[in-house]
């Protein structure tokens, strides 16, 4: 290793594209990697890249990625000295962070105490209140029975959001618009929260229905200094799940950026925050409200990395090892505009229902300032056990409009066969004048783009090309690898 690396082994308790991202960061720092994976996650890119792999349990998350003793045992068996939890799964679980320390492992993330203070949405709001940060009206109490929650819904006034106390990402989150189905929605949110995060605890929040989602990347280094690394806008959301994220936000005035950045840092400082985190806000009518804090790496961290020229994953690892990251004189100056979109394995012609199966060709159109974060390649299986995000596409350009143009071309040239993806949906979104003019709120996709796309039909020219392509197509005998080419004729007869 040039200049001496960390020379230790790091376990990755995650899967998919983020596992690949972390493995790469570890390898660049000179660390060995152990991938802790479930039994079905063998044919994945992370599995092929890791130095070692340990199967920690069955395919359901509860048996593997959420199973604390299995993860700890797997990390120790793999000779790891530290665990990176990625995002989702155990990444915001304070008990897990403590279990790591008890087992003599570094947890790459904030302290268990900071997770409890900021990651638990109820505690976080209490802390924010003492700091005088603006909060959305709601209920964060301990009473979790449906009749008590119904009373609170009435008190806050409709529309009301119910959310999982232990998680994010749209899971366990429901919108209550009428008292008639409020009970059913509350129960459903509790079930989803239990299934996704292992705790049925929910809280209630008044719905801001024309708000923008703005978040600040915060970072606490080993010396205790907390900085914010500017903002992202993630207003393009479908059913509360982010689809497209940008850095920086084009909705903030300098004054708002300063105030929100200070609020984000104050909160992180109050919790002695170490490592990467995100403070999320809603912005409506030039007023901002604290939404939640994610005490982990964020899915959309690459857009910040692209405009700021930082490596947040390496910064996390170095901080966990008590090493300095950004130099004391390093100026954090944003440059240009970055956009990320999430590629989901789903059928855009059936309203986005999950699409699973074996991947066919997967090809990303590499180029300058185009970044592809993916966890699966041709021949890998997309299963129904986990989140449907199979990749992220990130582009950077000098201006927002050029980044949008670039993203459209990159998406058009991206090939994912074997499962349906949301790429046609993403292209429709970024071509919408509302999106281009940044007139998007968190409700916009659900209001304007909730209908399934029409199944595209080939025109006469395309049909002719297709017929010719079908004749020229040579089916590999063995799709697994070292493919021998079958004769054109055998393929021809097979497809008759």
């Amino acid at each position: 290793m040039i200049g001496g690396g960390l020379t230790m082994t790091i376990a990755i308790a995650n899967r998919g594209e983020v596992a690949v991202r972390i493995i790469r960061a570890c390898q660049e720092l000179g660390c060995k990697t152990v991938l802790l994976h479930s039994d079905v996650d063998v044919k994945t890119r992370a599995y092929r890249m890791a130095d070692k792999t340990v199967c920690i349990g069955g395919s359901s998350s509860a048996e593997s990625y959420l199973n604390i003793p299995a993860v700890i045992d797997g990390a120790i068996a793999g000779g790891a000295k530290a665990i990176h939890p990625g995002f989702g799964f155990l990444s915001e679980n304070a008990d897990f962070a403590e279990a790591c320390l008890r087992a003599g492992l570094h947890f790459i993330g904030p302290s268990a105490k900071a997770i409890r203070q900021l990651g638990d949405k109820v505690n976080c709001k209490q802390l924010a209140q003492t700091l005088g940060l603006p909060l959305i009206p709601g209920y964060q109490g301990e009473k979790q029975d449906v009749p008590s929650l119904l009373k609170e819904v009435e008190r806050i006034g409709l529309p009301v959001m119910v959310k999982a106390a232990a998680g994010g990402g749209g899971r366990g989150m429901k919108m209550i618009r009428s008292m008639a189905d409020a009970g059913e929605l509350l129960e459903s949110a509790q079930r989803e929260a239990q299934a996704a995060f292992g705790s049925p605890k929910v809280f209630l929040e008044k719905l801001l229905d024309r708000a923008k989602h703005i978040e600040f990347q915060i970072f606490g280094d080993a010396s205790g200094r907390v900085v914010h690394i500017f903002d992202r806008e993630c207003s393009v959301q479908r059913r509360h799940q982010k689809i497209i994220e940008e850095a920086l936000s084009t909705s903030l005035t300098l004054d708002l950026r300063r105030k929100m950045g200070e609020a984000a840092c104050a909160l992180a400082q109050a919790a002695n925050y170490k490592g990467a985190g995100t403070v999320e806000f809603l912005l409506q009518d030039d007023l901002f409200y604290l939404l939640e804090v994610n005490t982990r790496l964020q899915v959309e961290h690459p857009v910040t990395e692209e405009v700021m020229g930082v490596d947040l994953v390496k910064a996390q690892i170095l901080t966990a090892m008590d090493q300095p990251v950004f130099g004391p004189d390093q100026m954090l100056v944003p440059r240009g505009h970055a956009i990320e979109c999430r590629i989901y394995a789903e059928n855009p012609y059936l309203g986005g229902v999950p699409s699973t199966g074996k991947l066919g060709m997967v090809e990303w159109p590499e180029g300058a300032r185009r970044r592809f974060e993916y966890g699966f390649e041709e021949g890998d299986e997309v299963t129904a056990y986990y989140d449907s995000m199979i990749a992220k596409v990130i582009v950077w350009d000098e201006t927002r409009i050029r980044a949008i143009q670039k993203l459209d071309r990159v998406l058009a040239d991206s090939i994912v066969f074997g499962v349906q993806t949301n790429i046609p949906f993403l292209r429709k979104i970024i071509a919408d004048p509302d999106y281009i003019a940044n007139r998007v709120t968190t409700r916009w996709v659900d209001d304007k783009h909730s209908q399934p796309l029409a199944i595209p039909q080939m025109n006469e020219r395309q049909k002719k090309v297709f017929e010719l392509a079908k004749k020229r197509y040579v089916q590999p005998v063995n799709a697994e690898g070292n493919a021998k080419e079958a004769s054109v004729f055998s393929n021809y007869w097979r497809t008759l």
Binding site: V353, F417, G418
Partner: protein, 132 residues
């Protein structure tokens, strides 16, 4: 495979692959999926005749049944709840009538397109059913 074809004097760059009984074909930045000639059933929408059945719109697990055999349903009623990829999906009756056959139970893993239940449609209700 990537192909560079000349059709009527025009060069076309396309990508094509046949896998799982489906031709995947990318042209002009759009992906088309066409069933192989031998397997026409691919791409069929997960809907029953006249909406008198509910079929699984995706592979996943049945997590809740809100109706039992013999129960009457009104179009729009949630009949069952499925979970896939950690999200819940409520499946609603598209018709008004009576639940006659239930093909699944809570905890079942079901494949895409599996029939989950069937209704006996109440004749006058379907006639007056207005699109919402």
């Amino acid at each position: 495979m990537r192909l560079r074809l000349e059709v009527e004097g025009q060069i076309e760059n396309v990508v094509i692959q046949t896998t799982g009984g489906v031709h995947w074909f990318s042209i002009d930045g759009e992906v088309f999926t066409l069933p192989e000639e031998s397997s026409r059933s691919q791409g069929k929408k997960g809907k029953g005749l006249g909406g008198s059945t509910i079929e699984a719109p995706m592979p996943g697990k049945v997590t809740k049944l809100l109706k039992a055999v013999g129960d009457s349903v009104i179009a729009g009623d949630i009949v069952l709840v499925m979970e896939a990829m950690k999200m819940e999906y409520s499946l609603k009756a598209e018709v008004t009538g009576t639940l006659r056959i239930l093909d699944c139970k809570v905890g079942d893993q079901v494949v895409l397109g599996k029939r989950l239940c069937q209704f006996e449609v109440q004749p006058e209700a379907t006639a007056s059913e207005a699109p919402t």
